[in-house]
């Protein structure tokens, strides 16, 4: 089994002067047929120390982290091309590369730069992609992620998610903070922090807002906060608990959970806090709503039949239908972006684990090998499930590919991380 570590701590001093710990990502496993790719350093003479942060290195790290690529060591190749005319395909066949990425970084006046890259097919000896960007210094990382996404999509046929963001809650020194970071854990920004717990962050479909639950008023209240302006408003502060917000796919409404009339029940509320309407009616617990991508259904957890199981109800109201039947405890449903799969936490003899269910056939498979898993959610391309778990008594994030082959662990040296949620593709 391949086991690699990316220690990105070195880069903190360069990139995040805000002195906040970043997530360190460890990868375990990989696809059966990894695509061998060589990424030649774009900049021939990088500033000392900046090598690890260079665009080509970020591309390399992204592709490697996906588990679908075998990134090849290029230093042994004497001729390091930057232009197509300089490529000697025999060199790259020699190290068994199937794909080759070359490029250039050219400084421009005013802290700007021109980045050009090409993706070449080594076997067919032709060009697959060519693109040029004029960017500012601060857009360097995101541009590298976008290039990695293009390479990923060209070679695998699926959308990449390197240029997306994730959110999570970090608990450190008795404080909770809701963080938004790049999908590789870099560049964490604090959205809100509190002495009281923060849970259940949910991204608006356009990626500009996050709804979350804060206990800062000594009871759970739902807020919506803009990631652009930082401004927030109270979405729901009714009698009792206000929790589990989930945006509708068109962003106009949220499904929320209130204990307004005794039991936790699912309600629907407009994004501006108006038009509250009860959706589920049971004498038990109904919670954790999640919309189907077409907006027609709301999946949720309910113990109306005894233990917690997953149900679904038309979002316009009606009868709830039970969806999970294996095991006595199934919670935290999230639907895949294509609407075909459901991921949730399933209790089995070895603990609480991430499961994946084919919605049409009902077939269930356990995907994680950890045992205290929580809050699974799909990446925007449906290929990766991000979830929270516990390793050595410490909250940790983990990710597993939908096929179970690639596993990642994301830890924060300075705190306990939990409640992850993958933001939408922009």
């Amino acid at each position: 089994m391949m086991k690699q570590r990316f220690f990105i701590l070195l880069l903190i001093s360069l990139f995040s002067l805000g002195v906040r710990a970043e997530l360190t990502i460890e990868i375990m496993g990989g696809a059966a047929n990894q695509i061998p790719i060589a990424v030649v350093p774009f900049d021939a003479s990088p500033v000392a120390g900046a090598q690890q942060n260079s665009i080509s290195n970020i591309i390399n790290a992204d592709l490697k982290r996906s588990g679908l690529f075998r990134t090849l060591e290029t230093r042994g190749v004497a001729n390091q091309p930057h232009q197509v005319a300089d490529v000697k395909y025999s060199d790259w066949l020699g190290i068994q590369a199937q794909a080759l990425t070359i490029g250039t970084v050219e400084p421009l006046p005013g802290n700007r730069m021109k980045v050009a890259f090409r993706l070449l097919d080594v076997l067919k000896q032709n060009q697959l992609l060519a693109m040029e960007f004029t960017i500012t210094q601060s857009q360097q990382r995101m541009t590298a992620h976008k290039i990695a996404d293009m390479i990923y999509e060209k070679l695998t046929g699926e959308k990449g998610v390197f240029a997306t963001r994730i959110s999570y809650v970090n608990k450190a020194n008795g404080r909770y903070s809701l963080e938004v970071a790049d999908a590789d854990g870099f560049n964490p920004q604090t959205v809100v922090s509190s002495k009281e717990p923060l849970i259940s962050p949910s991204w608006s479909p356009d990626g500009t807002k996050i709804a979350y639950v804060s206990f800062e008023k000594k009871k759970p209240v739902i807020y919506v906060q803009s990631l652009v302006s930082g401004q927030r408003y109270v979405l729901a502060n009714f009698k009792g608990n206000n929790s589990a917000p989930a945006w509708s796919p068109d962003g106009s409404k949220l499904a929320i959970v209130l204990t307004y009339s005794a039991n936790s029940q699912v309600y629907i509320i407009n994004a501006d806090g108006s038009g509250l309407k009860q959706l589920t009616y049971s004498s038990g617990i109904d919670t954790e709503p999640d919309w189907s991508p077409d907006g027609a259904f709301v999946y949720f957890t309910s113990n109306r039949g005894g233990g917690p199981q997953i149900y679904r109800i038309p979002s316009s109201g009606g009868d709830a239908k039970r969806v999970t039947f294996e095991g006595a405890y199934n919670v935290s449903p999230h639907v895949s972006p294509d609407g075909k799969l459901l991921t949730y936490i399933k209790q089995d003899s070895s603990g609480f684990r991430v499961a994946i269910q084919d919605i049409e056939t009902g077939q269930v498979q356990t995907r994680s090998d950890t045992s205290q898993d929580e809050s699974p959610s799909f990446a925007p391309n449906g290929r990766i499930i991000l979830y929270a778990t516990n390793v050595g008594g410490k909250g940790t994030l983990a990710a597993v590919s939908s096929d179970g082959r690639v596993k990642q662990r994301l830890t924060d040296a300075g705190g306990d991380v939990r409640e992850p949620s993958w933001g939408p593709a922009n």
């Binding site: 717990p197 849970i199 259940s200 206990f215 000594k218 009871k219 759970p220 009792g240 608990n241 929790s243 589990a244 959970v257 204990t259 005794a262 039991n263 936790s264 617990i285 919670t287 954790e288 957890t301 113990n303 233990g307 917690p308 405890y329 919670v331 935290s332 936490i345 209790q347 603990g351 609480f352 205290q372 929580e374 809050s375 008594g393 939990r418 409640e419």
Partner: protein
């Protein structure tokens, strides 16, 4: 304790409240000259406050006295359950009686869950547990206005690894508002 005795306790405290008001109102009346009578009124007020404080202290002592069942505040639950088990009935009933005897006292019942499973489900489960304890108190006659239910879900849970530890987190705590 039977109902009529409870009623008389209630009645007594209502009467006490009335007479207290009467005493309190006195200094507000226009007193022109008599320093002595106002001194007497102040002494009476001080004595009354001292007596009230002594009574309150005695009650608080009862809530904290390890030999008194009232010092026990936690009701424990089975995994994924919200039924108040028979062994906790006496404890909840004792607090219900205390609340009936002290209509000005208020409690928050704080529901908790162990840290396994889902945070949101556990938030709902903690709420169910606090409501389950409240319902037992309601049955004993305690009014809604005296009880607030809160859930912390698994947010205050310990970093547990075994059942002995999980068990400690599956509970509802009865917390008095003056504490």
């Amino acid at each position: 304790m039977n109902k009529s005795l409870l009623m008389s306790v209630l009645l007594a405290s209502v009467l006490a409240a009335c007479s207290n008001n009467a005493v309190k109102n006195k200094p507000a009346a226009p007193v022109v000259d008599s320093a002595q009578s106002s001194q007497a009124a102040a002494d009476a007020e001080a004595a009354r406050l001292a007596a009230e404080k002594a009574a309150a202290d005695a009650d608080l002592a009862a809530l904290k006295d390890p030999n008194n069942i009232l010092s026990k505040r936690s009701v424990y639950f089975d995994f994924d359950k919200d039924e108040v088990k028979p062994e906790y009935r006496a404890l909840v009933d004792a607090h219900a009686k205390f609340l009936l005897a002290h209509p000005k006292s208020k409690v928050a019942i704080q529901g908790n869950a162990d840290n396994r499973g889902s945070r949101e489900y556990n938030l709902s489960l903690g709420q169910r547990r606090s409501v389950a304890v409240k319902k037992v108190m309601n049955l004993a006659g305690v009014q809604e206005a005296q009880i607030e239910t809160v859930s912390y879900g698994e947010e205050k849970a310990n970093a547990c690894k075994d059942e002995a530890c999980f068990q400690q987190d599956r509970r509802a705590d009865i917390v008095y508002d003056h504490e």
